[in-house]
């Protein structure tokens, strides 16, 4: 894989330094049979340091995951070597099956088939809570 140039794929840019690995894991990239490059600690005019993830394939991405982990990130969709679309990511109102509730008393802990649903409780604090028991999601 050429890290500098992707023909058809996705570049997640302006990731807050240190969060790329979390994003990689929550996006399920480790289980994919496609080339993925992760650049950490890159110099950025805007952020000082930033992380970047380059995916060398046209695969579906859950933008809600990116919005949850790092709403300041940008997503560049590359087609035929050209920037086709640049997306500004927003914090999603709802997360489904992205993170799991950590409350041992929550029904989702014993009934595994229930969707793990979190809602945005406080946008300023970037706080999500379990839709079932209202326990606060762990801070990333």
């Amino acid at each position: 894989m050429n890290v500098d140039a992707i023909r058809d794929g996705i570049v997640i840019d302006h990731i807050t330094a240190g969060r790329a690995m979390t994003l990689y894991r929550l996006l399920g990239l480790e289980g994919l049979d496609v080339p993925v490059a992760m650049i950490t600690g890159a110099v950025s005019g805007r952020l000082g340091r930033k992380d970047i993830i380059k995916i060398d394939a046209d695969i579906p991405i859950d933008f809600n995951v990116i919005g949850y982990v790092d709403p300041g990130a940008t997503v560049n969709l590359i087609r035929d070597g050209e920037l086709r679309e640049k997306k500004q990511i927003q914090m999603p109102e709802k997360l489904v099956n992205v993170i799991a509730c950590r409350n041992p008393r929550c029904i989702t802990g014993t009934e595994q088939e229930i969707d793990q649903i979190f809602f945005l409780a406080d946008r300023e604090k970037k706080e999500y809570r379990c839709a079932y028991c209202e326990t606060k999601a762990a801070v990333i």
Binding site: K94, R105, C106, I107, I114, C130, Y132, C133, E134, K136
Partner: protein
């Protein structure tokens, strides 16, 4: 179809309407004796309970309806590993409305999403217990003549006490109320309850560990039990269980028109000698709970309505 998971699923107008209906039931019980004729309530209790289950069942019988009852997970298919969703889907085939208690937090929402009939949360672990709050609200309105401009002391386990969280949430919606939070350091009101119910709405409150110091200021004293089942550690429970015991001596420092409330069951946090005091209202709360459950069953089976706030959020 409409379910009630939490007290916040009900608007102030609906709360007032339920209390008005309950008052009318008290005044004219005969007028309601046949209202639920031919309807069935299923009570699914996966956790021990005496008063709440009996209250729901008495409520349905007094409305002329019938009751199907499952008491204790050991006697139901849950013991075989059946999910909450499958259980309530099955029960929806037999009953017109379900009242469910479950030890896991959020179980009521799972049930409401799966059921084909309205679900009333009769307690989901330490999370919500809306019909207890309905009983509390009617009791306050009957004892004090209003739900606003009151100084409310809540005492005991404010950390795990779901009835306290719901009561604070509900009373914060009425103007002019202020709260005094009385608890040991380890059982203080969680910050998210303080934040969402009190700070966000600018409701005045203060925290103390000393009941006697503040009892003279109160219009309402809401006592709670330190619940053994909410602790993972027995040592912590034993250390904290006797933190507050209301006695006739402490009552001497209280106002003549104080209303002492308790969601029951009590262990020893209110001395039995206080029962003789006309300010003791906790057994009236039990009776008021039945009337409010009657009003709620009537509302859900007769009016229906849109999904509650929590259902919509999930």
């Amino acid at each position: 179809m409409r379910s009630v998971i939490d007290i916040s699923d009900l608007s102030l107008r609906e709360l007032d309407g339920l209390m008005d209906t309950a008052e009318d039931i008290i005044a004219r019980p005969g007028a309601y004796a046949e209202r639920m004729r031919g309807k069935k309530l299923a009570t699914l209790f996966f956790e021990p309970s005496t008063r709440t289950r009996l209250s729901f069942e008495a409520a349905m019988y007094e409305l002329g309806g019938n009751v199907l009852s499952v008491a204790g997970a050991g006697s139901s298919s849950a013991a075989k590993g059946e999910s909450v969703a499958d259980t309530v889907k099955t029960v929806s085939c037999y009953a017109d409305i379900i009242a469910m208690r479950h030890p896991k937090e959020g179980a009521a929402l799972v049930a409401a999403r799966a059921a084909e009939v309205p679900v009333i949360n009769a307690g989901d672990g330490g999370h919500c217990h809306p019909t207890q709050t309905l009983a509390d609200l009617l009791t306050i309105r009957r004892e004090k003549g209003r739900l606003d401009g009151l100084t409310i002391g809540v005492c005991g386990d404010l950390k795990f006490g779901r009835t306290v969280h719901s009561l604070i949430g509900a009373m914060s919606r009425y103007p002019g109320n202020r709260f005094i939070l009385i608890s040991p350091e380890e059982l203080k009101l969680p910050s998210y309850v303080k934040g969402e119910a009190l700070k966000k709405n600018g409701i005045p409150y203060r925290q103390t560990t000393d009941l006697e110091e503040v009892i003279g200021e109160l219009d309402i004293l809401y006592m709670t039990r330190v619940q053994r089942e909410r602790f993972f550690n027995e040592e912590d429970y034993l250390r904290l269980k006797d933190s507050y015991i209301l006695t006739p001596e402490k009552m001497k420092k209280a106002r003549a028109d104080l209303a002492v409330m308790h969601p029951l069951p009590r262990v020893n946090e209110i001395s039995v000698q206080v029962d003789e005091d006309p300010r003791a209202c906790y057994f009236k709360q039990v009776l008021n709970g039945k009337y409010m459950r009657m009003a709620l069953i009537l509302m859900l089976l007769q009016e229906g309505g849109a999904a509650g706030r929590r259902e919509a959020r999930a």
